[in-house]
């Protein structure tokens, strides 16, 4: 049994190895800058890393993502809690959110370019919008899902409204809040790349569009792999955090 398991686990990397081998062979046969072999892309990765271009671009994009995502999530969390706790606020804000939520984030780009100009605030504002609505909506859903009996029990145990909020309502809404956070963890990267491609001259998106102009497919592929890693890392960080905070009791 043990042998069978170890044998089958040896098979897991096989498709990836086959894919890379196929890529390498096809690239060498094609022999065109439009389809470089895997080894050339890998070499270019080291060159970009060594020159500092890759890290500089990544740092620029990552900073924008972190600031926008943090601000958007906090604002979404705050709005969601406010709506979840106060029916008047919920009824006042719900129609507005229902209208604004379905607008694709990049749809805001032309408007924001006119309103705040082409500067560092532009991608941050876009990411803010990208993170705000799903987090607000999911926080609201999570808070409304907490049965009133839990709150009544807490009240009979002499808990104040603040204590109930921090120790009953928010912890019990956490699974929904994390759904909102994870939903947009990948999306914010797509948004920042789009903003950098169209409007900002630094970051991974800018590196991508410059590589396209210079017909450097190897650099484009390096950027795409890096983006894939960043998106999945973000998702995994939240998955880990969610498991850490809610795994024991769910």
């Amino acid at each position: 049994m043990k042998r069978a398991i170890s044998k089958s686990s040896l098979l897991y990397p096989l498709p990836v190895c086959l894919f890379l081998a196929l890529w390498e062979i096809s690239g060498r046969i094609a022999h065109t800058p439009l389809f470089p072999p895997f080894s050339k892309v890998f070499m270019e990765f080291w060159v970009l890393l060594g020159s500092g271009i890759l890290l500089k671009s990544l740092a620029a994009s990552l900073t924008r993502v972190l600031i926008g995502y943090l601000l958007g999530s906090l604002a979404g969390l705050f709005a969601g809690i406010l709506m979840g706790l106060n029916r008047v606020v919920e009824r006042s804000l719900s129609p507005l959110i229902s209208i604004l939520f379905p607008i694709p984030t990049l749809g805001w780009l032309p408007l924001l370019m006119l309103w705040i100009g082409i500067n560092e605030a532009l991608p941050v504002a876009l990411i803010f919008i990208c993170a705000f609505f799903p987090v607000a909506y999911n926080t609201l859903t999570g808070i409304k899902g907490v049965k009133k009996e839990y709150i009544n029990v807490a009240r009979t145990l002499k808990a104040s409204s603040w204590f109930i909020l921090w120790h009953v309502i928010i912890p019990m809404a956490l699974p929904n809040i994390f759904t909102g956070l994870r939903l947009e963890a990948g999306m914010v990267w797509r948004t920042v790349i789009a903003a950098e491609m169209f409007a900002i001259s630094t970051g991974i998106g800018s590196l991508l569009i410059n590589a396209e102009t210079l017909i450097r497919v190897d650099i484009i592929l390096v950027c795409l792999v890096l983006l894939s890693l960043m998106c999945s890392s973000f998702d995994r960080v939240f998955l880990w955090l969610e498991h850490k905070l809610t795994g024991a009791w769910r």
């Binding site: 029990v153 145990l157 809610t246």
Partner: protein
């Protein structure tokens, strides 16, 4: 002087002009079928629902006193243990909410878990508890705040007969030991007979009869006679 006095209690769609006096340390069973208004009466006493009329605890009018300050312990059929806290933290919840010192919390929680024979469960989460264990934890969580009044809303209705009987015995024995004024809601006549000092029968929101177990079962009012016959 009664410890709890209810005067002309009326609630929308449910209770109609209920008057009731309960002595300190009594175990009163509120008996009636589903929808009769038993749970609503508990909610009135706890301050969890709107009502007309007056509620007195120890001759003090409680109408304007919020639930947090009424000193009641409340245990519901579904218990509503906080799923994100283990047994220890569930039981400690009220003490933490009232800023009790940490060493005092540990001491009190350990004591109450020991009293209910559930010390071995303290690190478990509610999802890993059986129905009977949940009820015991819920009882510990209510009792740790040393309430003046204990309200139990069909706490054993969803348990198997053996577990329910065991917990019933524990409730009775705890009541004797703590001399805690207790209101126990049930629709089970046998449970009422086994537990009650006095029984209150509520039918369609009205208090139909109040008396000892003997009074209710051997000299029942007309409507209750019909109910007993149905069973």
């Amino acid at each position: 002087m009664p410890f709890i006095s209810l005067r002309n209690i009326t609630t929308p769609y449910c209770l109609k002009n209920v008057n009731l006096d309960i002595e300190e340390g009594e175990l009163i069973v509120l008996l009636g079928f589903t929808g009769a208004g038993k749970s609503t009466l508990l909610n009135v006493i706890a301050g969890l629902t709107e009502y007309q009329g007056e509620v007195y605890f120890d001759q003090k009018n409680m109408n304007d006193i919020p639930v947090e300050k009424r000193d009641v312990g409340y245990l519901l059929q579904d218990v509503y243990l906080f799923p994100h806290y283990n047994v220890f933290n569930n039981v400690a919840f009220g003490l933490r909410a009232t800023s009790c010192p940490a060493d005092k919390i540990t001491e009190k929680v350990e004591a109450i878990l020991g009293l209910l024979n559930i010390s071995h469960l303290k690190n478990r989460y509610p999802k890993d508890l059986s129905g009977g264990e949940k009820q015991r934890v819920g009882l510990a969580r209510s009792l740790i705040m040393e309430p003046k009044i204990l309200l139990l809303d069909e706490p054993l209705a969803s348990l198997d007969p053996v577990t329910a009987r065991n917990i019933r015995k524990e409730v009775k024995s705890l009541h004797r030991r703590l001399f805690l004024t207790t209101l126990y809601v049930t629709h089970d006549f046998n449970e009422a007979r086994e537990l009650a000092d006095r029984i209150v029968v509520i039918i369609k929101g009205e208090l139909k009869q109040l008396g000892s177990v003997q009074d209710i079962f051997y000299k029942p009012a007309k409507e209750i006679k019909e109910l007993i016959n149905i069973i």
